[in-house]
């Protein structure tokens, strides 16, 4: 034998808990005593939580108006008809009148909603250059290929910001007017257009390219605006902190939506007399109708909404929790019945033996 020469026990495996598979362990068993109470408790907890969620969501007020302008739905249909088949659509404005019988509890947020708009289409979603948007000068001149066909303009200039997302920037604009007394003058309600984008997006992710001689316009020299845009990116707003790539509307738009129906924050109403909400009275929203959506069957809406501790109106979670809670209890009962029956059977069998 080759190994008889070695010492006795030389090949003996180590006697450790690991090698002998004797590691101390917890050996849980899913017994009825654990499973059934678990189901009932979880069910009750879910129902409680669901009720809370449901009521808090129900407490939120929403006021929505579809201003797409389908024929016969208000004065925006004129604009919609005017823009039909013409590119670029002519400037047109329309208005939405509404009145509040009581105070619309604030803070109030103004959203626009688009439907049937596929921001989550893969080709749409990749059509952007994040390095360009982060202010990298080299990317400003050489946008990535994903941006095509909005990579270079017809003149061969690099487009800034490039890509389909930027090109399709939502460009309707709204202003809110309040008529405090009947037949009184309309007073413009101040809309806070800042602070509508994520802090990280506005402060970190999006940056303008380094200024040239203190001028943003010079920094963007040699680039072309996206074809759909009427003005270059550095003129999006007169406010130097809200123009260029860090224009908040632009930043909000660039955070693409997950679903084809989406809302984006347009403004917050929190200034002056309106910090507590919109007081009762008549209101008018002036709409600058630029953005065509009817071609692809989309709709656009305006929404005033208040906010609770857990965000906007969305009854889904509340209802889902209620349902799942009830389901838990139901399944718990079924299991209880089966369990009791099975135990009876077992007892019988034991008696037989």
């Amino acid at each position: 034998m080759t190994w008889s020469a070695t010492a006795r026990g030389a090949h003996q495996p180590d006697n450790t808990a690991f090698t002998q598979q004797r590691l101390p362990a917890w050996h849980p068993l899913l017994s009825a005593g654990i499973a059934l109470p678990l189901f009932f408790c979880a069910g009750l907890a879910f129902i409680g939580l669901g009720l809370g969620l449901y009521y808090s969501s129900n407490g939120i007020k929403e006021l929505a108006y579809d201003y797409t302008g389908d024929p016969g739905t208000g004065n925006c249909s004129v604009c919609a008809a005017a823009g039909q088949g013409r590119a670029p659509p002519p400037r047109c404005s329309c208005a939405w009148y509404f009145s509040l019988p009581e105070l619309f509890q604030g803070p109030v947020y103004l959203y626009y909603e688009l439907t049937n708009f596929y921001q989550n289409n893969r080709r749409y979603g990749v059509s952007r250059d994040d390095s360009q948007l982060s202010g990298l000068p080299s990317s400003l001149r050489h946008p990535v290929n994903e941006c095509a066909p909005y990579q270079y303009s017809a003149a061969g200039l690099p487009i800034a910001p490039c890509g389909a997302i930027a090109n399709s920037l939502f460009n309707d604009s709204f202003s809110l007017w309040h008529q405090r007394r009947p037949n009184g003058p309309y007073v413009e309600v101040p809309l806070d257009r800042t602070g509508i984008a994520w802090w990280t997006d506005y402060h970190v992710k999006f940056r303008n390219p380094p200024l040239v001689n203190g001028s943003l316009a010079l920094a963007f020299r040699g680039t072309a605006p996206p074809p759909n845009w009427h003005r270059p990116v550095y003129e999006l707003s007169p406010d130097p902190n809200n123009t260029g790539f860090i224009n908040q509307d632009f930043v909000v738009w660039m955070r693409t939506a997950a679903l084809p129906t989406f809302r984006k924050l347009y403004a917050r109403i929190r200034q002056g007399n309106y910090s507590a909400g919109l007081p009762r009275g008549a209101y008018r929203v002036n709409i600058t109708y630029n953005y065509p959506v009817r071609a692809f069957g989309g709709h656009k809406s305006l929404i005033f909404s208040s906010i609770s501790w857990m965000g906007g109106k969305n009854p889904f979670l509340g209802i889902a929790y209620l349902l799942v809670g009830s389901l838990c209890i139901l399944v718990g009962f079924v299991m209880l019945v089966v369990y009791i029956r099975y135990q009876d059977q077992n007892d019988d069998e034991e008696d037989d033996e």
């Binding site: 899913l30 009825a32 990280t200 799942v324």
Partner: protein
């Protein structure tokens, strides 16, 4: 060494072929490792597929995922496999060296021995080439060999060199000048045939099988011998017999391949449906959406776009065929193999051998074994015979407790003292006996006892050797005989030496010389042997020993009552599993003997029909015998064999014994080790020599078994088992020739109904055939276990081959998949390691498929909301890391540490093994369950977050319904769900499982913050786009509410199912308790064969220093 060996028949004159005995086993060297290994790895379908995917991803038009999602996992998988291959190869390389032994005048390794070499072999060496015997140390160039490795027979065999070469003896000059030429048949697998011609000095000498020493034999009782190497390495008869070694794959492997194929089909159809969806979408919406998202230049129609999308989805959904599946499976198997190597309870201290998992690819199959094919000699038995009991003149001697020492007598045994043989100087110190009464009887001078032992010391063909005064070494043709003579020796009747005409016996200290008048040798028909001696008192005595069935017919009528008593004793012995022989004597009249002697020599000299005539003459004298008693020899089983077999039987593992040995011996062992039980209903013995008789026998047996069942309703022998197969309480004994016909199916049908099957007289290749047969027609896992070279073929053929190591030969072990040194470790290997491995593998596969379905199919749901644009739900980095980092450790932990029940319970309830045999834990049905569960989970995982984020905003009014937040919510929910799922699957929570499971989840969040951190995203804005998403989303109550909801919804059905499942008890097979009286059976067994008697009387073997060229008369 100028001898030349030509193979091939007739006059072919091929020059000496240089075939070496060394086998190259290592594949790689440092230089070719990388290219060769990569080449081999890409030959695997899975790896090639991922390479193909990689190329797909590099096409920008269809690339829906970044290239690194495939490259990173592929690199990791390839490098892990490469490291494993390298380690395996190194191990192989070492084992290549180990196999060599040394011998030869110029000591040379066996691997260097070449055809045509002349080599010297010494006593107790294992021969590793086929060798033509030239000369030996024994007279007449006889060489004794043991062939247990080849055929399982334990008796010695004799080979004799041809006279021309035997003259050379050990004269090196002559030997080195030997320039004969051998022409012989080409290498073949016939162990008992050899034809060749030796051309030497112008003359031709016929060579036959008797001149050839085969590889695998052991030289015994021969100081040295010289031989000419004829075949080496793979050309040797044993190696030719060992069959082709095939790459073994497990059932799970096959299943996995089928399932991967299914997944491919599923993937293909999914992609097709999505492409159709895309076509419809592009037609209805995409076309009109071109203001904002124009089609690419090269896209001319929605059909073309859909074609591209098909491939895009192919890339996205490829995670359904997980790249890490194969490598994970390999890691799990490796880990579980290590457990086998590490198991202390499979370590055999006396031989210092741990169990060894020599392959790391078959573990889970160990949990599914249905048929065990076992060799007998050296596997079930230790190949040691022990004189255990005897019955002398109606008195039983011998300890009864002894046999049960293992189960309950361990303590009892300690109190028993060995009998003191100190009165006898010539006693064998190794011999032990536990019954004092026998010694007392001997000392008192009991006539019958004395006569009994005298007959044992005279009636045999043992040759004694006394190199040192008083130290006798017996060379017995069979271990049984050796045991009997040794027993007689210890009790004071010492067989000391023999010549061809005398036997010298020291009787209670007194030397007496008996004249040997005749040896009536043993053969299979006679089943007895006799000697006729003339005592110093000039009485002529015939001593006879043989099978009880034969001998009791030859007894003198006067010993009728003694016969009955002795037969009762024999039954007792037999039921203890002992091998019994009856001993009788007869006093002969001098005249009668003279008369008979004449007839005998006439018969011996007759040319025609000599065998027949001799046996008739023998019968004339072997009658009217006086019964002396009976012996019982224990063919010592290996420790714990009966218990092991009982346990395996309870686990519904069928054990077939395949042996080269004789039927009687095999049946005897089968009883001794519980393969046959005494209350077995019927033993079917198939002995027919041709198709018709065998077929007839089989049909008859089948009818007996099944008809019986019909008649008595429930089934007499064959109650239907729960699994629907017939389970009979009967056993089948087969002879090798039953296999030769075309009755395979018939045979198998009968055999599989029986509880135990024994196949005797099997050649190595036939053993393999039997295994092959079962493999072919029964879709069951087979395991072959053996220790010798004759088992190699079946070890290679069976799904799992187990070698008993630590015996002298290494052949079986080197060809096996698992090796350990005691048969009893088999139950641990199967019931503990096998079961665990199988359970773990099944859990692993179910979970693995599930987690990938749940992961991947979310994309499909998302397609309906993203215009079928091949948009992924997750961040690309999540896709890259999901299988590799986030979920790999928990599932590895599960499949390396999980134990549903611990080892004690596994062994105590062997029934737990059954589900594995029926493949219940992972099969196509289970896979479909995984798929459905995965679909359900993905549904929940998509729609709950979708409902949550739909038009929903944070409490500061900013929206959270953006794509990146949605991704984060879905992927976090997914990870929580799969982690909870694995937590539910885990039944054995070690510290490591906790760390792996919860650690991976924690690690995910760490990675998340890293990947979405400002620094990284600003540095590589194009690669890491999710800046700030973690910070903005993980603090949302909606998100956590959604995660909890998804988790509960995914867990609810699983918990309910798990809770309700154990409430359906498995119906136990109806146990019919039938009482059967143990039938009387003869336990006659004797591993003995004709052949020695003639040699002894011829004087060939006598060591008496007779002149070498003496014309000592011997009969041919």
């Amino acid at each position: 060494m100028a001898a030349q060996v030509n193979w091939g028949s007739g006059n072919s004159t091929i020059s000496t072929p240089q075939v070496t005995g060394c086998v190259k086993t290592s594949k790689y060297n440092a230089l070719n490792f990388l290219p060769m290994n990569l080449f081999e790895q890409f030959q695997r379908l899975a790896n090639a597929y991922f390479l193909f995917l990689l190329f797909l991803q590099l096409i920008p038009q269809i690339s829906s995922l970044a290239w690194y999602t495939t490259v990173v996992p592929l690199m990791v998988v390839l490098s892990i496999t490469a490291v494993k291959d390298a380690i395996d190869d190194m191990v192989n390389w070492h084992s290549g060296i180990q196999g060599s032994l040394s011998c030869r005048i110029v000591t040379e390794k066996w691997m260097n021995v070449q055809v045509g070499d002349i080599i010297k072999l010494e006593n107790n060496q294992i021969v590793t080439a086929d060798i033509l015997l030239l000369s030996s140390s024994e007279p007449y160039s006889l060489t004794y060999i043991e062939t247990a490795e080849l055929d399982g027979e334990t008796n010695l065999k004799v080979k004799q060199a041809i006279s021309v070469t035997s003259e050379m003896e050990d004269n090196l000059k002559l030997l080195s000048a030997f320039d004969g030429e051998v022409r012989c048949e080409s290498p073949n697998n016939k162990l008992d045939k050899f034809t060749g011609i030796l051309m030497y000095k112008g003359k031709n000498y016929l060579l036959n099988h008797d001149r050839l020493i085969l590889r695998g034999c052991v030289i015994r009782n021969t100081d040295w011998c010289y031989g000419l190497v004829i075949f080496t390495g793979p050309d040797t008869k044993v190696m030719q017999n060992s069959g082709k070694s095939t790459f073994k794959r497990t059932h799970i492997d096959h299943l996995m391949n089928v399932l991967v194929l299914w997944i491919f089909l599923f993937l293909g159809s999914m992609c097709f449906l999505l492409a159709v969806g895309h076509y419809i979408w592009e037609n209805n919406k995409g076309y009109y959406f071109q203001d904002y998202l124009p089609w690419e230049d090269y896209v001319t129609s929605s059909v073309f776009s859909a074609t591209l999308i098909f491939w895009s989805y192919f890339i996205i959904l490829n995670t359904m065929v997980p790249i890490s599946l194969y490598v994970s499976v390999e890691i799990i198997r490796l880990g579980n193999s290590f457990y086998i190597n590490w198991d202390q309870k499979m370590f055999y201290e006396p031989k210092n051998t741990p169990a060894q998992a020599r392959t790391t690819t078959l573990n889970e199959e160990l949990g599914q074994v249905k048929y065990v094919f076992s060799d007998k000699t050296g596997t079930l038995t230790q190949n040691i015979m022990i004189f255990n009991k005897c019955s002398i003149n109606g008195m039983v001697y011998g300890m009864h407790v002894f046999l049960f020492s293992l189960s309950l007598g361990e303590i009892l045994l300690c109190r028993l003292e060995k009998v003191d043989f100190s009165y006898n100087k010539l006693a064998d110190p190794k011999f032990s006996f536990y019954d004092k009464t026998l010694v007392e009887a001997v000392k008192k001078g009991n006539h019958w006892v004395h006569l009994f032992f005298l007959s044992l010391s005279l009636c045999h063909t043992v040759i004694s050797e006394e190199k040192v005064e008083g130290e006798l070494v017996y060379q017995a043709q069979s271990p049984d005989e050796g045991a009997l003579v040794t027993a007689a020796r210890n009790f004071g009747f010492v067989f000391r030496s023999r010549t061809s005409e005398t036997i010298m016996v020291v009787e209670m200290g007194k030397m007496r010389i008996y004249q040997l008048l005749a040896i009536l040798d043993f053969n299979n028909v006679r089943k007895r042997m006799s000697v006729i001696v003339r005592t110093p008192e000039n009485r002529i005595l015939l001593f006879c020993k043989g099978a009880d069935t034969i001998l009791c017919k030859l007894l003198h009528p006067s010993c009728g009552s003694l016969k009955d008593i002795t037969m009762d004793h024999l039954d007792d012995f037999a039921s203890d599993g002992l091998r019994t022989l009856m001993v009788a004597y007869r006093e002969l009249d001098s005249a009668f003997f003279q008369d008979w002697s004449k007839k005998h020599s006439e018969a011996c000299l007759s040319l025609e029909n000599r065998e027949n005539k001799i046996s008739i003459v023998y019968e004339e004298i072997e009658r009217d015998l006086m019964l002396l008693g009976a012996t019982a020899i224990e063919d010592k089983l290996q420790d714990g064999v009966p218990e092991t077999i009982l346990t395996l039987n309870k686990a519904k593992i069928k054990i077939w014994v395949l042996t080269g040995d004789k039927q009687e011996t095999a049946v005897n062992i089968a009883y001794a080790c519980n393969i046959f039980e005494d209350e077995m209903d019927e033993i079917f013995i198939v002995e027919g020599n041709n198709d018709e008789t065998v077929g007839g026998e089989l049909r008859y047996e089948g009818r007996t078994a099944t008809n019986g069942g019909e008649r008595e309703g429930q089934g007499r022998f064959c109650p239907k088992s729960f699994w629907g197969s017939l389970e009979c309480r009967c056993v089948l004994v087969l002879q090798a020739h039953a296999l030769e016909g075309n009755l395979e199916l018939e045979l198998l049908r009968t055999a599989c109904m029986c509880k135990g099957v024994i196949c005797c007289r099997m050649t190595p290749l036939q053993k393999a055939q039997v295994v092959e047969l079962v493999k072919k027609y029964k879709k069951a896992v087979t395991l072959a276990i053996g220790d010798g070279a004759n088992d190699v073929s079946m070890i290679k053929v069976a799904h799992i081959g187990v070698g008993i190591s630590g015996q002298e030969g290494m052949q079986a072990m080197l060809n096996s998949d698992y090796a350990f040194s005691q048969f009893r470790y088999l139950q641990r290997l199967l019931l503990v390691h096998g079961r665990w491995s199988y359970n773990r593998m099944c859990k692993f596969l179910s979970y693995f498929f599930y987690k990938n379905f749940a992961f991947t199919l979310v994309h499909v749901w998302y397609a309906f909301y993203s215009g079928f644009s091949a948009q992924t739900v997750y961040d690309t980095w999540f896709i890259t890391f999901y299988n590799l980092v986030y979920t790999s450790l928990p599932v590895l932990g599960l499949s390396l540490f999980d134990q549903d029940v611990n080892e004690t319970w596994s062994l105590r309830f062997p029934e737990l093994y059954e589900p594995g045999q029926h493949n219940l834990y992972f099969n196509k049905k289970e896979f479909v369950k995984c798929l459905l569960h995965g679909i359900y989970s993905s549904f929940v995982l998509f729609f709950i977050p979708m409902g949550t984020v739909y038009n929903s905003v944070r409490k500061d009014g900013k929206e959270i319904s953006d794509y990146q937040s949605f991704s984060l919510i879905v992927q976090t929910s997914l990870l929580c769900v799969v982690t909870m799922q694995i937590a539910l699957e885990t039944t054995y929570w070690t510290m490591i499982s906790h760390v792996f499971t919860w650690g991976s989840l924690g690690f995910y969040f760490c990675i998340l913050f890293f990947l979405y951190s400002d620094g990284l995203c600003l540095f590589f804005p194009d690669t890491f786009q999710f800046l700030g998403v973690a910070r903005n989303t993980l603090n949302l109550p909606q998100m956590w509410l959604s995660v909890v909801l998804s988790m509960i919804l995914c867990m609810l059905p699983v918990v309910g199912y798990q809770f309700l499942k154990p409430l359906h008890p498995l119906p136990y097979p109806i146990r019919t308790k039938l009482k059967h009286t143990a039938s009387r059976r003869s336990a006659y067994a004797f591993s003995h064969k004709q052949g020695f008697g003639a040699l002894i009387t011829s004087g060939k073997t006598m060591k008496a220093k007779l002149p070498k060229k003496n014309s000592f008369p011997y009969k041919r």
